[in-house]
């Protein structure tokens, strides 16, 4: 036995017989998955993992406003031609998005404490008749609800559309609340939670449910799948736009600095001209983000903090998320929020002209 465990392990690993790369299989599976994900999370969220069906099925000529949902026994299918995808929407954004809804929207109420809204999708664009909202919390509650205009639902379809039929899924729950039909899969939610939500929704008004939902939305702009949102919200200043940037976006900062480019707000996107093929989403036209979340100067400020806090060039991860705010024209504020819960948040001030970084005391990070 050799004396160097590392070397021994590496050489043992090098002796492993490697099978041929199954490139054909990888290629075909990749293409199939790519087609499914073309529509972003509509496949997972708007459709609630219901089956997507071919546009040309000709069944149930009740297509209304570019959305149609069929429910048949324990299975369901959905057809959508365009939509809006909102990741981590803020209150005003959600209010604006549902303003044109074709039905009185009652959002789920009675969800467990500590739950946050991850994502909202609306279809079609402008006058949504289908709204899905996804929740999760640290205790494992993770589910989505589709809120539908009854006009787009064939609730007792004799069968799902045939032809280019999608995937059969089940079981799911659906019930009616005022002028909407609510649909959810029985996964990620306990029966007790579901019953409580049903009961609470039956007495909630659209306005009340929206107000409760807003308490579960982020109060800052969130870029990426952040895990430190609570800390960031606690530290955010009262004024100015605060942006939380997750690790993946932080990794793009050096490239943006090099190009002198801002960090774009990619939370909200639209997809149009969705087409289906073989029962699955085939193509769609997405609109790239144009809104700026962090200016080019702000991006430089974040980069300056990264460098000053010891994140070396070429490192993959800073092990942190960054909260950004510009309190005035001459200053940027950046909070470095470590991923490790035991590490402290550090606040930095960055001069907007020289990009000199000053580490502020930790006490200054608390409002």
């Amino acid at each position: 036995m050799g004396s160097d465990f590392s070397a021994m392990g590496r050489s043992a690993r090098a002796l492993i017989a490697v099978p041929d790369v199954p490139l054909d299989s990888i290629r075909s599976r990749s293409h199939a998955a790519r087609a499914r994900s073309r529509m972003g999370t509509f496949g997972a969220c708007a459709a609630l993992a219901l089956a997507a069906v071919g546009a040309g099925t000709g069944v149930g000529a009740k297509i209304y406003n570019e959305v149609h949902v069929w429910l048949s026994g324990g299975q369901s299918a959905v057809l959508i031609h365009s939509g809006v995808l909102m990741r981590h929407p803020m209150g005003s954004e959600l209010r604006d998005a549902i303003a044109g809804a074709t039905f009185p929207v009652v959002f789920p109420v009675g969800v467990p404490a500590g739950t946050r809204v991850d994502m909202v999708t609306l279809a079609p664009i402008g006058h949504p008749s289908s709204i899905t909202i996804s929740y999760q919390n640290a205790a494992g509650f993770k589910t989505s609800f589709a809120l539908l205009d009854p006009a787009v639902v064939s609730a007792d379809a004799a069968q799902l559309p045939t032809g280019s039929v999608g995937i059969a899924v089940g079981p799911f729950e659906h019930w009616r609340v005022g002028g909407e039909i609510v649909l959810t899969r029985n996964t990620g939610v306990s029966l007790a939670d579901l019953n409580r939500i049903k009961a609470a929704m039956s007495t909630a008004s659209p306005g009340d449910s929206l107000a409760l939902t807003e308490t579960m939305l982020p109060t800052i702009t969130v870029l990426g799948g952040t895990v430190r949102l609570g800390i960031a919200e606690h530290n955010r200043p009262a004024n100015g736009r605060s942006v939380l940037v997750d690790e993946n976006f932080i990794r793009t900062i050096p490239a943006l600095v090099k190009r002198g480019a801002p960090l774009l707000d990619s939370r909200i996107g639209t997809i149009t001209n969705i087409t289906y093929k073989n029962g699955d989403i085939s193509t769609g036209v997405g609109r790239p983000p144009k809104d700026i979340a962090v200016s080019a100067g702000g991006v430089r400020a974040i980069y300056a903090v990264l460098r000053s806090s010891g994140v070396a060039r070429g490192r993959y991860f800073c092990g942190c998320e960054m909260l950004f705010n510009q309190p005035n024209r001459s200053t940027y504020w950046v909070w470095q929020i470590p991923m490790s819960a035991s590490s402290a948040v550090t606040k930095y001030s960055v001069d907007a002209k020289t990009f000199a970084v000053t580490r502020l005391t930790e006490g200054a990070t608390r409002r």
């Binding site: 036995m1 160097d4 465990f5 492993i16 793009t252």
Partner: protein, 184 residues
């Protein structure tokens, strides 16, 4: 540090070129398979995990923003897919010794036996730390666990391996482990 593929291969794939993506998959496949095999400890299941990982590489390579970010991204994918496959298929399969060309190599046999004594959690950090020479804070990010948890798991793994190596009477390995323990 280019662990998985030359930077130019990664950069070409980042442009969205299909042929470049396939070349990248061909390049990273042996590494993906070997890493999966090491952490899963099963030849057949490692194929599943490596294939899942390569499908993701092929499909999502354009989402990687820079070539420098590729290595860590792929580590995460392979470790995540390996853990998923391991959970799905607890027990059974083809142990590494049966499919390793080193089945008559005493050192390699000892490595597989030593790793087999570790729980999946300890095995993951041990492989990344000792075989891949990753730093504990990078391991924390790859495995999405806290840095102190990595340290704790490494310490536990050392304890277990030390006991095993005592049985073999291997003083040099013990000394090496001591050095590594204080070196991270």
């Amino acid at each position: 540090m280019a662990r998985w593929a030359p930077p130019e291969t990664v950069s070409a794939a980042l442009t969205g070129d299909e042929a470049a993506a396939e070349q990248l998959v061909r390049t990273v496949w042996p590494g993906c398979f070997r890493l999966a095999a090491t952490v899963i400890g099963d030849w057949s299941l490692a194929q599943d995990a490596a294939q899942e990982a390569c499908v993701i590489v092929h499909r999502k390579i354009r989402s990687v923003r820079t070539a420098g970010a590729f290595d860590a991204w792929l580590y995460r994918i392979v470790m995540r897919e390996s853990a998923r496959v391991r959970r799905r298929h607890a027990g059974g399969g083809q142990p590494m010794l049966e499919r390793s060309s080193a089945s008559d190599d005493t050192a390699a046999v000892d490595v597989w036996r030593a790793l087999a004594t570790l729980s999946p959690e300890l095995r993951d950090v041990t492989v990344l730390f000792y075989f891949d020479d990753l730093k504990s804070d990078d391991i924390a990010v790859i495995l999405r666990i806290a840095h102190p948890t990595v340290r704790t798991r490494l310490a536990r793994a050392r304890e277990r391996l030390r006991g095993l190596l005592d049985d073999y009477g291997d003083e040099p390995v013990r000394a090496h482990l001591e050095v590594k323990q204080h070196g991270f």
